[in-house]
Structure formats: structure tokens, C-alpha cells
């Protein structure tokens, strides 16, 4: 399930950095666990998260099994123009997710 929560500050000013926060619902299976019958559960983690601002890549993460379930990121982006912040991610099983937030530059 590709659910995510994004938070942006209310007040974003041109030329100044603003805080972006995202949390993604994902079990982040490490590949080290077994199920109730003792069979290993294959690794399935979100391995890549990309954030674009006005079409340009501003934040990219490569993740491995060391990241806990429901990964949460907080980073800063410098405000330029009003536009959309587009997130895309993909896990080991090939499931893709995306989320979007609108940036309103004052």
C-alpha cells in the first residue's frame, strides 16, 4: 500500500530554505525474519526515494534493510517558485508509490 504523509510549513518565503517532512507506510522487510511457519520472509524495502521540486531532483535516498519500517525523512529545500513537490519511491518487489504536495511561495 502506497500511503504517505507529507508536511510543509505554512509560511514559505522565496530564496529561503523550508522544511519538508515525509513518512511512508511500508513494512521494510529486512529479509532476516521468518514467518510463522519458519520460512524466511524475502527482503522487501523501499530502496529508492526521489523528490522533485518543479521537475528537478532535489532529494534522493537509497535505502537498504537498515532503515526501520515506515521510513520518515526530514530535509530542507530552498524555495524558488510555487509549484509541486513530487515524491516517487520503489521497493524491492517493484511496487511504486507516489505522493505530491503543493508549495506556495510567498
Amino acid at each position: 500500500m502506497a500511503d504517505a504523509r507529507i508536511s510543509l510549513p505554512q509560511d514559505i518565503r522565496r530564496g529561503e530554505p523550508f522544511e519538508v517532512r515525509i513518512s511512508i507506510r511500508h513494512a521494510m522487510e529486512t529479509g532476516y525474519r521468518t514467518d510463522e511457519t519458519g520460512k524466511p520472509v524475502p527482503r522487501n524495502v523501499v530502496n529508492r526515494l526521489l523528490c522533485r521540486y518543479g521537475g528537478e531532483d532535489v532529494f534522493v535516498v537509497r535505502m537498504t534493510s537498515g532503515i526501520a519500517a515506515n521510513p520518515y525523512f526530514r530535509f530542507f529545500v530552498t524555495a524558488r517558485e510555487s509549484g509541486s513537490l513530487d515524491f516517487e519511491w520503489v521497493d524491492d518487489a517493484g511496487n511504486r508509490g507516489q505522493a505530491q504536495a503543493q508549495v506556495k511561495v510567498a
Binding site: 500500500m1 500511503d3 504517505a4 504523509r5 508536511s7 517532512r21 513518512s23 511512508i24 507506510r25 513494512a27 521494510m28 526501520a68 519500517a69 515506515n70 520518515y72
Partner: protein, 256 residues
């Protein structure tokens, strides 16, 4: 003579208040107060709190179409219609002739009204719906009824709570009433309130129900845990809710 009367009066008072709680309302401390600053900060921030991923999902499911209509088609906006509902559960239900919890009520609605399959206990969707409904009562005091038809379930719950279980031969009360605030290895023993549930437990790396948490306690004392959805667990949930009467609902809470 006067002393005898005084003692009799005290005995009378003791029996008429047989249901006095071990912890007075002003002594009640939510589970979050026994957590570290990092866990408290996580719960306090609605974006950092991963439980809200389930609340969001629950909101989507609330509006999702079903053969008998969506949740919203009967109940409207959950923000007003579901406000305070979770604080009253577990609640006596005439159809079941006993006390049921919120998950059971949701499944009742799904089967009876929405003509849908019941959702399995601890399934993502049931947790999402119960988290969404419970969240509407955040900040409201727990206020369950233990009188009238709910009394037998309450009495069974109290018996379970006070009874010793398992290889460790421990009762719930021995930890959560007599030794709360003390350390058990690296953990501080809480008062055992369920006001934060369904809660995101860091150990689970996901949201879980109060029943799951209670089952973990059974495991901890090396006792055989009742199956998910068992009446014993609902009875225990009712007793716990009564112990926590007045404590604000925190759902979705964050716990270690």
C-alpha cells in the same frame, strides 16, 4: 462500643465500594509517561507519529464504497459522529448479549449493514478503521459502563486481572498495580492502561490493537494467551478501561 460501630461502618463502606479502584483518578498515568523523551516526542508530533499512516488509511476506508453503502453513507462525517464513541468501548451489545470491543463493532457493521466480509483481527484494514474511529475521541476521557448488563463481563475481566497466570505465576495486578514505576530490566513498568491503543509499537514496527498488547503480556509471563478476538480479552479490555476511567484517549499512541 463507638469503635465497633466505626469498624462496622468501615466494613459497610468497604463492601459498598467493592469496586473502588486501586489507582485514584489523579494517580492515573498514561503509558506514554513511562516512555523516554524520544517516544514522547514521536507521539506528540502528528507527522512523526507513524500511527497516523493508519488513521489516514482509515479515513479512505471510511468513504470506500461497499454493497450496503460506505461507513460515511450512514455515519456521515466521523469527526462529529464518531467523537467520543471509542471512549465508551468495550460496550454491552444486545445482539451479542455481551460486551464487545470497537473492532467487533466495526465488523458487525461490515457484515450486517455493508454486506462485506468481516476483517480479520490485526489486519491492516481493521486496524486502520479502528485507529481512525478511535482517533476521533482523542483527548476525551475514557468512560465505559460497567453496571447493568456489562457487569458479568466486568467481573470476569477483574477475575482475569487479579488471577495468577502461566509459568511465572504472575497476575496483571502484581506488575501494573503493585510495582508500576519500578524497573523490569531496561523497561519501566507502566500502570497498564490502554488509552493509547490502537498504538504504534516500536517493537512491532506497526500499529497494533490493545488485544495484541495484552497477548504480549501473556507471552511475557509465559502463559497461554487467549486467541485474538476471544471474549476473555474483551472482558479484560473492559476492566482495563474502567481502571483507566477518566484518562484521555490518545489514539494513535506510540509505545516502545
Amino acid at each position: 462500643m463507638l469503635r465497633t460501630i466505626a469498624i462496622c461502618a468501615m466494613l459497610g463502606a468497604a463492601t459498598s465500594h467493592a469496586q473502588d479502584r486501586a489507582l485514584a483518578t489523579d494517580q492515573l498515568r498514561s503509558g506514554i509517561e513511562f516512555s523516554g523523551a524520544d517516544v514522547r516526542a514521536m507521539q506528540a508530533d502528528d507527522l512523526a507519529n507513524p500511527g497516523f499512516l493508519w488513521v489516514d488509511r482509515g479515513e479512505t476506508l471510511w468513504r470506500a464504497d461497499a454493497p450496503g453503502g460506505s461507513c460515511a453513507s450512514c455515519h456521515g462525517d466521523a469527526k462529529s459522529s464518531m467523537r467520543g464513541v471509542a471512549a465508551r468501548y468495550p460496550l454491552f451489545d444486545a445482539g451479542h448479549k455481551t460486551v464487545i470491543d470497537l473492532d467487533e463493532r466495526i465488523n458487525d457493521c461490515r457484515q450486517g449493514r455493508q454486506h462485506e466480509q468481516a476483517l480479520p483481527r490485526e489486519s491492516e484494514d481493521l486496524l486502520a478503521l479502528s485507529a481512525y474511529v478511535a482517533h476521533q475521541s482523542r483527548g476525551l476521557p475514557t468512560s465505559v459502563r460497567i453496571d447493568g448488563p456489562a457487569q458479568p463481563a466486568f467481573d470476569r475481566g477483574r477475575t482475569l486481572y487479579l488471577q495468577r497466570h502461566g509459568q511465572m505465576n504472575l497476575s496483571c495486578a502484581q506488575c501494573h498495580e503493585q510495582n508500576w514505576g519500578k524497573r523490569l530490566y531496561a523497561e519501566t513498568i507502566s500502570q497498564g492502561h490502554g488509552s493509547g491503543f490502537p498504538a504504534y509499537r516500536l517493537e512491532w514496527q506497526k500499529l497494533g490493537s490493545l488485544q495484541r498488547r495484552i497477548r504480549a503480556c501473556f507471552f511475557g509471563i509465559r502463559a497461554e494467551a487467549p486467541q485474538p478476538g476471544a471474549q476473555e480479552l474483551t472482558d479484560l479490555e473492559l476492566y482495563l478501561a474502567w481502571r483507566a476511567q477518566g484518562l484521555p484517549i490518545e489514539a494513535p499512541g506510540v509505545r516502545r
